[in-house]
């Protein structure tokens, strides 16, 4: 149950000032996203209102409030990737999956996100699927990359 997982995390942060962000990070790491119930538990533990917790969480791009796909695709739109055609790569992924950045495919196979710089600018344009980095991307390569993941699950 998610409650036991939450309690475990809460125990690590007992008595620590301002720990709500690390708690949110750990919880999302364990549960994938922050549901309303989870936010309400975190609020109780942190002695904050639910609105306050949601206010903090929604400020930061890292936090998700809906379930995400089995594979997370991140297309870099940092400056170096932008000048080397990152936007075209993102367009192509969007077209292939039929979802916009920030969305998840209906079958929960893929979530698509845009990020600003993954630190491999010298190898731009870059996209990452889960933890695998694909560098020097070209439009015709996109479909192939997606297919490797489409078949696994």
């Amino acid at each position: 149950m998610f409650i036991t997982k939450l309690v475990e995390i809460f125990n690590e942060y007992k008595g620590e000032k301002g720990a709500v962000i690390p708690i949110l990070q750990k919880v999302q790491d364990k549960l994938g996203y922050l549901s309303q119930e989870v936010i309400s538990e975190i609020a109780k533990f942190s002695r904050m209102s639910e609105t306050e917790v949601f206010g903090v969480a929604s400020f930061y791009a890292q936090f998700r409030f809906t379930r995400c796909g089995d594979h997370v695709i991140r297309v870099c739109l940092g400056t170096a990737c932008h000048v080397s055609g990152g936007e075209r790569i993102l367009d192509e992924v969007t077209r292939e999956l039929g979802v916009s950045p920030g969305e998840t495919t209906e079958d929960y196979k893929f979530s698509l996100e845009r990020v600003a710089c993954l630190g491999c600018c010298a190898l731009a344009p870059v996209m990452v699927v889960d933890k695998t980095v694909y560098t020097k991307m070209k439009l015709p390569k996109v479909r192939g990359v997606l297919q490797t993941y489409g078949e696994n699950k």
Binding site: V20, A80, H82, V133
Partner: protein, 620 residues
């Protein structure tokens, strides 16, 4: 360049780069395979080690072998056998893996002779690429923690501050505030609960200096932090690092553990009575949290919104206590200054900008990567000598420094000496070290729009001119790039820009208009071309360009036909292909895939080309 004494015991030390760039090129497998082959062949006296980023990411994966600093670039897993059989077993170099000078074609075996390296002066990056970041022993062997010992045993906090002050060190996070002065302010603030924070949020999208340093040499930063803590009287430190940097975070954690084991962290450090603890805080993805007061709010568990200064954090910062925030590179400079003295440091650079500056050189440049040069170097030397010029032999158009807060420097400024003051005069800022090089194929209006998309989304929303003004500016830029710009738009942009600059509390809003203002200042005619003639001279803005297949060049090979993602090309074997402009999404695939020997696809803006309406047979 730091030499490790222990090298003498081994015949060869092999350094495989395990920085983020090289790892994505497959260096982890190269490392494993080298270890495995050396083990299974029982070659003695060879140490297979790994390092962080060497800086020359463009040529990765990189394998460097001591002695001699033999530099193998673009290594593949298949090359490992040759490296082992030839170099490590027989002492013969694998020439084909040497770096080749792009214009002369000459092979250069040693990294120190490659122009990319030979013109650099590496102080902040002194250990990057030379030591194993996960082994404190490597750091100790190059004199690591000696400065800390010196400070704790021989110097008072006042002496440390005075040494840093006279070195002239300025903050490398962007604003360039004098570090000694800041430390002194905090030192003299009353209270015995003080904090020091390392700003590793590196928000500039397109820069990776801080990340590479943390991945390659975390101990230098941590040692600098300890020295700073001692100087101001802090017992608790925080490292605020982006969560998007998993490898940097992991190496920091390892480094902290090893520091504790060696007595560099905790209570009574090295028997001096000085106590210091460090916690890592992961950023949660908000650019504005790189700003110091927002960063503090974020550590306190709040929304990362900046507040007015004064009071400055040095007086009232984290939990209302005196707090010093320094950038990764600022802190990494501190141990060397203590070791070599302020006189040595202040001898490098220009009158007001001392020391060196690290740039993440990217974009349309031949040698992308991490470079460190003395302040005052000319832009031209950086771009052409170190960077190897523009890739593909194209023409230099502009270099953008300071990321979304900075501006672009056009070709007429190639002689500009790079330091805080000259960059500010040119309308840009030094920033924290991102430098994006643009060529003729980069549209400056598109770049301005790109940065505004970023700052507009990252504005925390507190100040109306920043929240609404950046949005308005973006709307105008978008209509210009779509061909809907109207006369007067440029003047309107300038007016809005000044309002946003004046009416914003923090650096985000104050600098967000810079990319727009500098591109207008240096490339006004390009804006006017978009607005008046609906033409994008760089052929970038999608709505203003069209693709055509030239009938006299098309060979009917069907490659574009097969690759078009939306089926907008009609044609067939031995037929001249035709693009349906209604359907075309201008992705440029046909342009990219058309074989170079045909070059039948062209991209144009502001004109039409006469082509057949339907596919017709190729005339011989």
């Amino acid at each position: 360049m730091g030499k490790i004494n222990r090298t003498s015991k081994k015949r060869y030390i092999v350094h495989v780069c395990l920085g983020t760039g090289c790892i994505s090129g497959g260096s982890l497998n190269i490392y494993k395979s080298l270890k495995q082959q050396v083990d299974s062949l029982k070659i003695k006296n060879v140490l297979i080690n790994f390092t962080g980023c060497h800086g020359f990411c463009q040529r990765g994966p990189i394998v460097d072998i001591e002695p001699g600093g033999i530099f193998y670039s673009e290594v593949k897993e298949e090359d490992v056998t040759d490296i082992v059989q030839q170099h490590l077993k027989k002492g013969k170099f694998v020439d084909r893996l040497f770096y080749r000078h792009p214009s002369t074609g000459e092979t250069i075996p040693c990294s120190r002779d490659i122009p990319f390296y030979s013109r650099q002066q590496r102080i902040i990056l002194r250990n990057c690429g030379h030591i194993n970041p996960e082994n404190i022993g490597d750091y100790l062997a190059v004199g690591g923690y000696e400065s800390l010992k010196k400070v704790l045993t021989e110097m008072t906090p006042e002496q440390v501050i005075s040494e840093i002050s006279s070195s002239g060190l300025r903050g490398r996070g962007g604003a360039g505030f004098l570090t000694g002065l800041k430390w002194d302010l905090c030192h003299r603030s009353p209270g015995n609960e003080k904090y020091i924070i390392c700003n590793a949020d590196e928000g500039d999208p397109g820069a990776f200096m801080d990340r590479s340093i943390l991945e390659a040499d975390p101990h230098s930063v941590l040692e600098g932090m300890l020295i700073g803590a001692y100087a101001i009287g802090a017992n608790q430190g925080y490292i605020y690092c982006r969560a998007e940097y998993p490898l940097a975070l992991e190496r920091l954690r390892i480094a902290l553990r090893q520091m504790e084991e060696h007595g560099f962290l905790g209570n009574d450090i090295l028997g001096s009575g000085f106590n210091f603890h460090i916690k890592i805080k992961e950023g949660a993805g908000a650019f504005v949290c790189g700003e110091e007061t927002a960063l503090i709010a974020s550590i306190e568990g709040k929304r990362g919104m900046p507040r007015t200064r004064p009071p400055f954090p040095a007086i009232s910062g984290l939990w209302g206590k005196p707090t010093i925030i320094n950038n990764v590179k600022t802190l990494a400079s501190v141990p060397v200054i203590i070791a070599k003295g302020s006189n040595w440091y202040s001898g490098i650079g220009t009158e007001k900008s001392k020391g060196t500056v690290v740039f993440a050189l990217t974009g349309k440049i031949a040698n992308s990567g991490l470079v460190e040069v003395p302040m005052g170097i000319e832009l031209r030397e950086l771009i052409y000598e170190i960077g190897g010029g523009i890739s593909g032999g194209r023409k230099f158009k502009a270099a953008q420094t300071g990321g979304p807060s900075g501006g672009c420097l056009p070709a007429s400024m190639l002689n500009l000496p790079i330091d805080y003051e000259s960059l500010a005069d040119a309308g840009s800022i030094m920033g924290s070290g991102g430098m994006i090089v643009m060529d003729e194929d980069t549209c400056v209006v598109d770049i301005a729009r790109y940065f505004l998309i970023f700052t507009q989304a990252e504005s925390c929303g507190k100040c109306v001119p920043c929240r609404v003004g950046t949005r308005q500016m973006l709307i105008i830029l978008e209509r210009i790039t779509k061909g809907d710009g109207v006369p007067g738009d440029v003047e309107l942009l300038e007016r809005l820009a000044n309002t946003v600059k004046l009416g914003s509390l923090c650096g985000l809003g104050q600098t967000a208009p810079n990319p727009v203002l500098t591109t207008i200042r240096y490339f006004r005619s390009e804006y006017e071309e978009h607005i008046n003639n609906k033409r994008c001279p760089a052929l970038v803005c999608k709505e203003l360009i069209s693709f055509y297949i030239l009938p006299e060049k098309c060979k009917g090979c069907r490659i574009c036909f097969k690759n078009c993602p939306v089926g907008a090309i009609s044609g067939g074997k031995k037929l001249i292909h035709v693009i349906n402009h209604e359907r075309c999404i201008k992705c440029g695939t046909c342009f990219d895939v058309c074989p170079k020997r045909f070059s039948a696809v062209v991209k144009v803006s502001g004109k039409q080309i006469k082509v057949p309406e339907k596919p017709i047979p190729i005339s011989k």
